[in-house]
């Protein structure tokens, strides 16, 4: 893959993703809250539909090119980490991509969330080296 293609692809996909997340409502704290309280199922359906469309797409991709995708198994940090993440998502209305969309939209308080995410990620990387040391998935090990 050429570097130029990777750069242009990164810009195009990043912008498309930012626009999409904004228009779906994922960058709105209130919408996220209504999703989690089942008051509005629209965004849950967005997620479900995306997964339903992606599942057969990956099968086709795997037929065409034989990608070496890392398996994502369960490890000691999976559930605890995800529970922490989910609670943080409910509190701040953000996840690692949405937070940048919020900043772009002018919701500048999200900069506080960015600081938190960077700090939390850093702290975990230190804690992991000192105490845990299990494999956290190839996403990070790669």
């Amino acid at each position: 893959m050429s570097r130029a293609r990777e750069v242009l692809g990164t810009i195009a996909v990043g912008m498309a993703m930012g626009f999409t997340l904004s228009r779906v409502g994922f960058s709105s704290w209130d919408e996220v809250n209504q999703m989690f309280t089942f008051e509005d199922l629209r965004m849950t359906l967005v997620f479900g539909m995306a997964v339903a469309l992606l599942a057969p797409s990956w099968i086709i991709v795997q037929r065409i090119s034989k990608p070496r995708w890392p398996p994502r198994g369960i490890h000691k940090g999976t559930v605890v980490g995800a529970v922490l993440f989910g609670a943080g998502w409910a509190l701040s209305g953000a996840c690692p991509s949405i937070v940048f969309v919020q900043v772009g939209e002018g919701q500048l308080a999200a900069l506080s969330s960015v600081v938190g995410i960077v700090a939390g990620n850093y702290v975990y990387s230190v804690v992991h080296e000192r105490y845990f040391r299990w494999s956290t998935g190839s996403c990070l090990d790669a």
Partner: protein
């Protein structure tokens, strides 16, 4: 405020984004992984990129070396690999035959390279995300920079002063710590992992949705 997209438009768009991330960027979308890579790059520096090796050429060279070393015995060992290939009448392998092209080697140019992306590529992705949000807000007429999160519920719960910033920093820290611990977030586990039926992703997604639901219901009950 704008009208949000109906679910089928949003779902199709999100799926397209994940698919095009794979096609154009050459790796599965995993945004918390980018944050981690960024942190690691700052902590440890970006490792020297390994010289690009053409994998097909490498395997062919290894096969050739194997043939040279072990001759017919190696040919017999390599033969079972041919079973994966579409059934076609194969000539009995002549001892001096050049190394056959293996079907597995035919990796499309889209395959993930093992090399890491440079630091600035992650920054570029985050900046592009923000630009996408900016374009959406500008076109939708809600681009008003303010030190707040827009939402009546959010403001009702946490105000618009110092408390909201503290809550966001705390929530953010839980997100950063938790996603790195779980090895993924909404994009890597939730979208790409669940749609590939990966056990870790299914467990993580159930857990973070469950926790989000629990805490949101609690906040609602308290307010």
């Amino acid at each position: 405020m704008i009208e949000f997209w109906p679910f089928w438009v949003g779902g199709a768009a999100l799926a397209a984004v994940a698919l095009f991330h794979w096609i154009l960027v050459g790796r599965l979308m995993a945004v918390s992984g980018r944050v981690s890579a960024l942190i690691d790059a700052v902590r440890w520096g970006v490792p020297e990129p390994t010289p690009e090796i053409d994998e097909a050429a490498l395997i062919a060279a290894m096969q050739a070396a194997t043939m040279a070393e072990f001759g017919d015995a190696a040919a017999a060992l390599l033969a079972p690999d041919g079973e994966d290939a579409p059934a076609e009448p194969e000539a009995p392998a002549a001892p001096e035959a050049p190394a056959e092209p293996e079907p597995e080697v035919e990796v499309a140019p889209l395959a993930v390279s093992a090399s890491r992306q440079p630091l600035w590529m992650h920054v570029l992705f985050f900046a592009s995300l923000a630009t996408g949000g900016l374009v959406s807000a500008a076109l939708g007429g809600f681009l008003r920079p303010e030190l707040a999160l827009r939402g009546e519920r959010f403001t009702a719960a946490f105000g618009d002063g110092g408390l909201q910033l503290a809550v966001l920093a705390l929530g953010g820290a839980m997100i950063g710590f938790g996603t790195r611990m779980a090895g993924g977030c909404t994009s890597g586990h939730g979208l790409c992992g669940v749609s590939r039926a990966q056990p870790g992703s299914l467990a993580a997604t159930a857990s973070f949705f469950g926790a989000g639901i629990g805490l949101s219901l609690l906040l609602r009950a308290l307010s």
